[in-house]
Amino acid sequence: MPHNTERLGDLLDSLLPVLVERLHETGLGEIEIERDGAIVRVRAEDRGAPIASTPAPAAPRGGTPAAAAAPSVADDRRHPVRSTAVGFVKLAPDIHVGGKVAKGSLVATVDVLGVAVEVRADHGGIVAKLRCATGDPVEYGQELFLVESVGEVKA
């Protein structure tokens, strides 16, 4: 089998996202392993920036019934509000872009065979982006909208 730097490059390309993810998840600033005369060191460049301690849930692989949304880029200030059931969603009246959300408030219900299952906000802030509309079918865990933290509404 021919070996060359290009293939090594390809290998590293496929590895890097994994290493970076692990680095972030573990919260370590640097990982180094030495063996057989070689060193592999993975280091977070900006060690000052806070590292998210909770990884974002993986994007659903299955097609979602409603228009599936791409997962939002990890962002400390934006928090997705997720469906707590599978069914048809109904957003609360004040849920529109720019609307205010208080932590713990009832922001939506999901109709499950006529039973309204509550969705409450884990974070307070401003509605930054809607990912569904009232009447849409939603799956369990689906992102309904994003809340952006603001100074006065502390999480």
């Binding site: 692989r61 979602t64 059931a85 599978v86 048809f88 499950v112 065979l113 799956e139 369990y140 865990g141």
Partner: protein, 458 residues
């Protein structure tokens, strides 16, 4: 006709149902829990929907979640697979109330065939021999003692609502009965929400033989031959085959015809399995019915050439039986091995973790039904079935030789599996000569079986 099916199950059977839907040109949506987001059926399906968290009670066992998912995805039918909600009459009824076809017997039929004791009485009336036992549920300890005396010890106490080997206890004497009756009642109440018990003669050295049947809405009932599931460990089936080595040709044909006739006459509908014990006298006694597709259905498929899951869907859609009994030709011999994530060297302790290598066996007459792939994380929440190896041969000997070769080709790394246990089992005389009975494996002991396994190179 059914247009779009919600597959409300996981693992290999979700994939199997998906394949049947594709075969029929029916759309399919896979319902999955958060723990199964990366499962093969979800990845392969055209559409999938998350119905809840890993906890089955809030996903695969939640009737509202499953029916709501069917409505949300525009499905007009639900296939429940096996386990979970597959024999749940209330679920079938709720689905029907929302205009959704339950792929299985109707709620009314499920209810009628729910109680083991009642079903035994019903089918006895329709001509099936049953194991001598109590006349239905025993009211109390006194009634139990009276029934046991009449049948003769040893007897077996069974929970009327039990199944899959759970909720049963062998009673050797009147003293045992006195000691254990109320304990068993409590256990049954705790496990199944129903403390009723019934009593049967305890047969030793039995074969477990079952008949695959199907009945259309008009009552036309066919059988698809029998399966022998005598290789069990603690009442759990490990290996299944068709035909059974426990029946003579003469007994077999008469028995199969009688089973199909009885179940049709008793009002059963859709796919089902009648389970029998065959004692040392070579005669089958009816013990219970399973109102769903079974894990071991592929051995019947390999022998008959009939796609049972597709047939089940067509019958649920209201079609009449698309074939006659004469057209169900049985050919050769098939064996299935249930490969599980259990460590035979550690008392079959269940395993979970990432599958690091996955290479399936292949070649002529080797079928490998599995939801695994390299990189898949086996979740710890559900049953431990990883794959079913199904092998066909013109004769039992040919099927066994092919099984050995196919098992040697199985490569699953990352979790301990039962592969080597089966390789060893294939070398034991009781398996080779077809005399294995249901209690035998527990008597032999795992270590001896593992030691008999040839070593694979790959």
């Amino acid at each position: 006709m059914i247009k779009r099916v919600l597959i409300a199950n996981r693992g290999e059977i979700a994939l199997r149902i998906l394949r049947a839907c594709r075969q029929l040109g029916i759309e399919a949506v896979v319902a999955y829990s958060e723990a199964d987001r990366e499962s093969r059926a979800v990845l392969v399906a055209d559409e999938a929907i998350c119905i809840g968290p890993a906890d089955a009670k809030r996903s695969y066992l939640s009737a509202p979640a499953v029916i709501s998912a069917a409505l949300a995805t525009g499905c007009d039918a639900i296939h429940p697979g096996y386990g979970f909600l597959s024999e749940n009459a209330a679920f079938a009824e709720a689905a029907a109330a929302h205009g959704i076809t339950f792929i299985g017997p109707s709620a009314e039929v499920l209810e009628r065939f729910e109680s083991k004791a009642a079903v035994r009485a019903l089918l006895a009336k329709h001509g099936l021999p049953t194991i001598p036992g109590s006349d239905g549920v025993v009211a109390d300890e006194a009634a139990a003692a009276k029934a046991a005396e009449k049948i003769g010890y040893p007897v077996i106490l069974k929970a009327s609502a039990g199944g899959g080997g759970r909720g049963m206890r062998v009673i050797q004497s009147a003293d045992d009965l006195t000691q254990l009756f109320s304990l068993c009642t409590q256990e049954a109440q705790a496990a199944f929400g129903d403390g009723s018990l019934y009593i049967e003669k305890y047969l030793i050295d039995t074969h477990h033989v079952e008949v695959q049947i199907a009945v259309d809405k008009s009552g036309t009932a066919l059988h698809f031959g029998e399966r022998d599931c005598s290789v069990q460990r603690r009442h759990q089936k490990l290996v299944e085959e068709s035909p059974s080595t426990a029946l003579t040709p003469k007994v077999r044909e008469e028995f199969l015809v009688r089973a199909a006739k009885a179940i049709g006459a008793a009002g059963y509908r859709n796919l089902g399995t009648l389970e029998f014990l065959v004692g040392p006298d070579g005669k089958p006694y009816f013990i219970e019915i399973n109102c769903r597709i079974q894990v071991e259905h592929p051995v019947t498929e390999m022998v008959t050439g009939v796609d049972l899951v597709a047939l089940q869907i067509r019958l649920a859609a209201g079609e009449l039986m698309p074939m006659t009994q004469a057209e169900v030709e049985r050919r050769g011999h098939a064996i299935e091995f249930r490969l599980t994530a259990e460590d035979p060297a550690m008392e079959f302790r269940p395993q979970a973790g990432e599958i690091t290598t996955f290479r399936s066996p292949s070649g002529p007459w080797v079928r490998f039904d599995s939801h695994l792939y390299a990189g898949y994380e086996v979740p710890p929440y559900y049953d431990s079935l990883l794959a079913k190896l199904i092998v066909w041969g013109n004769t039992r000997e040919e099927a066994i030789a092919r099984s050995r070769a196919a098992l040697l080709e199985v490569e699953i790394d990352g979790v301990a599996t039962t592969r080597d246990f089966f390789l060893g089992r294939l070398e034991t005389p009781s398996f080779l000569n077809g005399t294995a009975t249901t209690g035998m494996l527990d008597a032999i002991g795992t270590a001896d079986i593992l030691a008999a396994a040839p070593k694979a190179r790959a």
